[in-house]
């Protein structure tokens, strides 16, 4: 029975120690029973070939051992859809954080950090995000606890129906510009650091038109950033998010127009007579008008986004193709 012993040795290696003796004893009895039955069914003793044939009918040792383990998933079918959804949402969130962090690091170090370093940071961040989410779900699966929100679901909890898919390019552009503005507005990105050392200080300062707008702009752009991040994760526009888009857009338009009509946008500080930037003093009016036009352009683009969101909220006109 050498082959039987070899087989049981192999099966035993795939079993936990506390079950090994019990299971291999049972299996030995089963295999010997089969061989005994074979011997009874035909003349002649049991040969090595008979032993091997019976063992092959039992199956690979790993397969046999597997059947003596309790059925276990790393992430089972109950949790899998929730896990996959969470992985995608966290990946988007981590990507947004990485982009902002990458901009901050890049701009503050003068882009001394290379592209490959950035790529490495990106891959590292995404890997850890995936690993943490997966680890949490594996822990839930192994704990045996089952989230019961699926069993207690009620139809009234259904979120608003999606109105239209997002255009990812538009949303990412909005996120980028809002993110950069917030970083600049809060002095995380300081543009004067880009000036060569030979120029002593940037002579333009924010004018009185900006007084009182620090927190309102932070709130409006912060809300817009959070909204676009949420929409990017969802992948669709829904009625509440369209209303939020309209509200934040109107906030930006009102702020842009109010700042334009409030007063001077920039003030040029006094420059030494020999400064090469004297020309900025003479160009103050030009710069002022350019900035006001830029603000109105921003208001215009935002108005266009608000109009698109409003159109999506309107019921489709019967007879017209949507």
């Amino acid at each position: 029975m050498e082959w039987v012993s070899r087989y049981l040795d192999q099966v035993g290696q795939y079993l936990p120690e506390d079950k090994r003796v019990e299971v291999t004893t049972e299996l030995r009895e089963a295999i010997e029973g089969e061989l005994e039955g074979l011997a009874e069914s035909r003349p002649g003793p049991v040969t090595e070939a008979d032993e091997k044939a019976v063992l092959e009918r039992f199956g690979h040792p790993l397969k046999v051992a597997r059947d003596y383990h309790p059925l276990r998933y790393l992430i089972g079918p109950t949790l899998y859809p929730s896990w996959w959804q969470t992985v995608k949402q966290v990946a988007v969130l981590v990507l947004a954080i990485q982009v902002v962090a990458g901009l901050v690091v890049g701009l503050s170090t003068g882009w001394r950090i290379g592209a490959f370093d950035l790529l490495g940071l990106f891959i590292n961040g995404q890997f850890w995000a995936f690993a943490v989410v997966t680890g949490v779900y594996i822990a839930i699966e192994f704990s045996g606890e089952r989230p019961n929100h699926l069993d207690q679901w009620r139809a009234e909890r259904l979120p608003a129906a999606s109105v239209a898919p997002i255009r990812r390019g538009d949303v990412l552009t909005n996120l980028f510009s809002e993110g950069v503005f917030l970083l600049w507005w809060n002095d995380v990105l300081v543009l004067s650091r880009w000036l060569p050392d030979s120029i002593p200080a940037f002579p333009l300062q924010a004018g009185p038109a900006w007084d009182g707008w620090f927190w309102p702009l932070n709130i409006v752009f912060g809300l817009a950033f959070a909204l676009h991040l949420w929409v990017l994760m969802r992948g669709v526009w829904q009625r509440p998010t369209l209303w939020a888009e309209i509200a934040t857009g109107l906030g930006v338009i009102v702020a842009a127009i109010a700042i334009c009509i409030a007063g001077d946008l920039v003030v040029v500080r006094e420059l030494p007579a020999d400064s090469a930037l004297q020309v900025l003093g003479r160009a103050e009016l030009f710069i002022e008008r350019t900035l006001k036009i830029a603000l109105l352009v921003v208001a215009g683009f935002t108005a266009w986004d608000v109009w698109k969101a409003w159109r999506l909220l309107l019921p489709p006109t019967p007879g017209l193709r949507t």
Partner: protein, 111 residues
Amino acid sequence: MTNDAAEKLHSEMRRGAIVLGVLAQLREEHYGYSLRKALADKGLEVEEGTLYPLVRRLEQQGLLVSEWREEDKRRKRFYRLSDLGKATYEQLLKDWRELSASLEALNGSDK
């Protein structure tokens, strides 16, 4: 692909049937080989790799009881239904007959 799908469905269908068959046969006491032979004699072929883990699972679920005994100079493990196993078998048999009647009616209505 079609054969794989049919094989998978066939396998799923057999799984439940084999459980009922094993419970039915263990109304009398059997050891491993005699159980498999008895099932095969009645037309239900079950592979060794399927039968023995199944019997172990059923015992862990409390549906079977077992004992080691020496017979023909060899230690054998004999299985039979427990009280819970008997009650479960009766219920499963009833369910099976109802299912079978429904399927017969469904198939009969296609004619």
